[in-house]
Symmetry: D2
Subunit: 103 residues, 4 copies
């Protein structure tokens, strides 16, 4: 089952600067070879359910190994069976609606 | 890795009444034998990472089988390596702080 | 506009024990007189949009005053215009579906 | 209080195609003059707490006016008092860490 995900990892008890940990999340995703994109409040990633969830679990494992004692993560995910859709389609679809209206 | 999760399943394109689908989520969790509790805005569940994520995937599969074309799910999850903690501990820990303050 | 909300406040850079801060969130909500209920992964609250959002902002202000330098909060919220609904209705509605099925 | 937000609006009971509604969310944000950016799973926006929350409330009002009976919205938000930070800083900060590691 294909899934489109946005997730945000919040390390707790590891100080106030989180960018070293978010950089590690990015490295884990690069190693996963899943399609992904960092944004200001999280990371978008898509792929097969098990692969995406395994990648997120590896982020937790890797951050705990770096010394983070506690991690809070938010995941927003979508699945659909009416048609295939990838992340790029979603933004393009909204953009088309905006263009139609402004014509 | 033990994980404590809150998740909310939002069926899209299946009408406005969601309770038949949330009832199905509850049935999937009962079948999973994972510790869980329905609340007004989602379901709390805890257990091993893979088992919890498999249960959530089964909720998606089951709802798609019921005819829901598209599903949006939010997951909040926590892991920690400094000590063991279960869902009941979390609420009890806050209650102790409230009791101390009011003494 | 009536809103039903679940929110989770995650203090960052304030150590690993979060229960003193969650207890403060509970105190802010008690002072707000909004209908609310703590659960294992957050707090459910309902009321008028502005009042609920003001209460959540006060939680942030109060925790920053306690010395928390950075706060991550997740909010799930629902509004509907087809009919009135409160938090208790939502759980009761799911329970009725479960009871029907098991009859 | 400055807040950095990611939010996702999920219309329920309004069919399966959500892009007309997400386009409306984009229009409401454009009218708000708040800094914002659409991504594959939501919209990032930043500004003063009240202004951002008012913009999100207007999205709900506007979608209900378009005929959406029920709306589920997820909000992830962050505040910090140790220093000023905007959305662009967050991504740049992670990128610097990635560059340091790969040198």
């Amino acid at each position: 089952m294909h899934v489109i995900v946005d997730f945000t990892v919040v390390p707790v008890g590891a100080g106030i600067s989180l960018s070293p940990y978010i950089a590690e999340v990015e490295r884990v995703l690069q190693a996963s070879h899943l399609q992904h994109e960092l944004h200001a409040n999280g990371t978008n990633v898509e792929g097969e359910w098990e692969e995406v969830m395994t990648a997120i679990r590896r982020c937790h494992e890797s951050l705990h190994t770096m010394g983070v004692p506690r991690i809070h993560t938010d995941i927003k995910l979508g699945t659909r069976v009416d048609r295939d859709q990838c992340m790029a389609d979603k933004v393009a679809s909204v953009q088309r609606k905006l263009d139609q209206r402004s014509e």
